[in-house]
């Protein structure tokens, strides 16, 4: 039972345009959400996070939106750059639980074309 789903295995955008990566979750106990970027042969790099008490969080070119009623979050990258090409993972956690484990989606491969 996959609790965090990234339904788009890949996304291709032009440099300078907006990239929108989507993530859905099924566990209503999740209260903290994170996005990680992963290059080949490297570990995931933390990008941005959002608590369930918020619906938006911005950090430079990256903005995460959370729609709790739809159990959906998205990552917007504006403007997209070729260096953003990587696999993006959505992850979720339940801070109220007894441990802090991250539940990941399968990832979306973003390709930004020059």
């Amino acid at each position: 039972d996959q609790q965090v789903k990234q339904n788009s295995p890949s996304l291709s955008v032009q440099e300078g345009r907006i990239s929108i990566l989507n993530c859905d979750y099924t566990n209503s106990m999740f209260d903290y959400f994170l996005w990680y970027k992963k290059y080949p042969a490297e570990g995931p790099t933390f990008l941005i996070s959002i608590s369930s008490i918020k619906d938006k969080n911005e950090d430079g070119r990256f903005t995460v939106f959370l729609n709790k009623s739809a159990k959906h979050l998205s990552l917007h990258i504006v403007p997209s750059q070729p260096g953003d090409s990587a696999v993006y993972f959505c992850a979720a956690s339940n801070y109220g639980g007894s441990n802090y484990k991250l539940t990941f989606g399968k990832g979306t491969l973003l390709t930004v074309n020059p």
Binding site: V4, Y32, E42, G43, P44, Y95, Y100, L102, F104, G105
Partner: protein, 115 residues
């Protein structure tokens, strides 16, 4: 500042053997978590340790074990290796579990191949 470090970077073993993977957290971080990532999947949670105690365990068989040392470094042990254990093993550190706005930072991983 040094990030999370893991050793070795790559490892080849045969079925039935045992393997030990090592992780050093970011300085000041007291919690270490282990994840397994197989090709085409997101990382799967294996263990979390905090202050040398196990705080969480994922859905992995008893062949998987781990421990955390007084300096907060950690080892992941896998016994009786199976072909299906071939994966990237990731270590993540955080200051402590359950803190507000806690974030886990990942190391580069150890790529294990079981033949």
């Amino acid at each position: 500042d040094a990030g999370v470090t893991q050793s070795p970077t790559h490892l080849i073993k045969t079925r039935g053997q045992h393997v030990t993977l090592r992780c050093s957290p970011i300085s000041g971080h007291k919690s270490v978590s282990w994840y397994q990532q197989v090709l085409g999947q997101g990382p799967q949670f294996i263990f979390q340790y905090y202050e040398k105690e196990e705080r969480g365990r994922g859905n992995f068989p008893d062949r998987f074990s781990a421990r955390q040392f007084p300096n907060y470094s950690s080892e992941l042990n896998v016994n009786a290796l199976l072909l299906g254990d071939s994966a990237l093993y990731l270590c993540a550190s955080s200051y402590a579990p359950g803190r507000d706005k806690e974030t886990q930072y990942f190391g580069p991983g150890t790529r294990l191949l079981v033949l």
